[in-house]
Symmetry: D2
Subunit: 146 residues, 4 copies
Amino acid sequence: MKPDDKFSPTFHFPVQIYYEDTDFSGVVYHPNFLKYFERAREHVIGAERLAALWQQHGLGFAVYRSDMLCHEGVEFADVVDVRTRFYFESKYRTVWQQEIWRPKGTKPAVTAHIEMVCMNKARQLCPMTPPLIEELGRHFDQAISL
Amino acid sequence: MKPDDKFSPTFHFPVQIYYEDTDFSGVVYHPNFLKYFERAREHVIGAERLAALWQQHGLGFAVYRSDMLCHEGVEFADVVDVRTRFYFESKYRTVWQQEIWRPKGTKPAVTAHIEMVCMNKARQLCPMTPPLIEELGRHFDQAISL
Amino acid sequence: MKPDDKFSPTFHFPVQIYYEDTDFSGVVYHPNFLKYFERAREHVIGAERLAALWQQHGLGFAVYRSDMLCHEGVEFADVVDVRTRFYFESKYRTVWQQEIWRPKGTKPAVTAHIEMVCMNKARQLCPMTPPLIEELGRHFDQAISL
Amino acid sequence: MKPDDKFSPTFHFPVQIYYEDTDFSGVVYHPNFLKYFERAREHVIGAERLAALWQQHGLGFAVYRSDMLCHEGVEFADVVDVRTRFYFESKYRTVWQQEIWRPKGTKPAVTAHIEMVCMNKARQLCPMTPPLIEELGRHFDQAISL
């Protein structure tokens, strides 16, 4: 991924491919890529922080859009590198650019553009809390003003 | 399944095997059988009834034990017959005997003994409500006294 | 969906939402929508036909692109209507427009644009067989010439 | 787990619980425990070794029996410890005792007895290869003679 002022730095997250991830065609079943992207986002945000946000503030993130391109099959026993960067589009919405790289790959096997919105338990759009924006904003070189 | 005074009649529930169900070995990935057994139980109990029980009474069923034997592989595009019968062991617990039959099978491909307990949202053991026991008990020829 | 000369008629496929489909936020976990779309496509194409295509010709379909918008949460015990239509973009590629409608919904809860390509077991792009194109083409009013 | 001459030492494998693992009751959906047990076994055996065994010898492992007890719910954001030990029952069969421990748990949340058999691609019972038995046997203090 090329550096881009708008985006956070790139985070790397490894995912090992198990039996459960494949289908009879021999490669990863495509909806599972969305699972790996979500796991990687949860590591960027912090699973503990997500759990606290839900329990204390009744807030969570929902995927509003996922646009994914599958360029290459990913195989059993691969340990892939999930690369993730994001930016705040507004107080309500984050935009994520994510890629899956196979071991020794020269280009990404899967690429995705994903948009997440912040919602309360009644599934109404809500602004992210200022502490959350500040904490996630520490990933950025420049100050974020939303 | 042989008739048995203790058990309800046998319920039949079809499940089609899709890409998502298989793994690279070419057959159904074994934890998925537990999903089909659960779907079949939800049809016996009634999904609407389960949803109401959760929303109105804060009660749900949790699998306490699942003992499963996989005798034969199940393949993509199979439409299997999930056979289910159960009995009330107490006000807290139901016991289920479930089988998966492939098309044209002469014996079950998978067999399972499953125990479910009734719990509240704090995951404390709770008795099933009398109307629930009565409604599920209609499946039995004989009266149930718990 | 509006009629469109390019597209097949709209196919309807019901999917019941089970425990396995939801996550702790209370609604369907978003990657599962891609599973329902795939199940619906398998019913349009025919699971038996897909199995035969793989076993006899070594051909299968791979999702190249999936662009999905999640407008509304889908809940446990819902029986949703998956609406599907498609067209042949070339001998290699089909394009699918798919939607998920909740019971009594006035607009789709989820919409998707999905592209599938035909591949051999070595994951090389291959043209669909003429009989397959002819059989799938029966869904169209007008002749297809690829 | 208590030491036992028959068993290998206990292996520890961490699993983080993500959105995908839970259902609307708020805890892990029970069939997913079988996935974590399988991941842990794949780490004991070695995913690369499993991939090579399949590609070079046409051999794989199938779960013949899984008997699982769920004592306690496991929650989102938990990092559980999957504890695994096993022994060779014969050249064809391994027996696994596995447990899931929550952070700060004083007893296992889930326990399981799992039996795996070695099969070829036609799903016929086959003996494990001598090098495989030898390599896995290195986990044991005592020599294994099958």
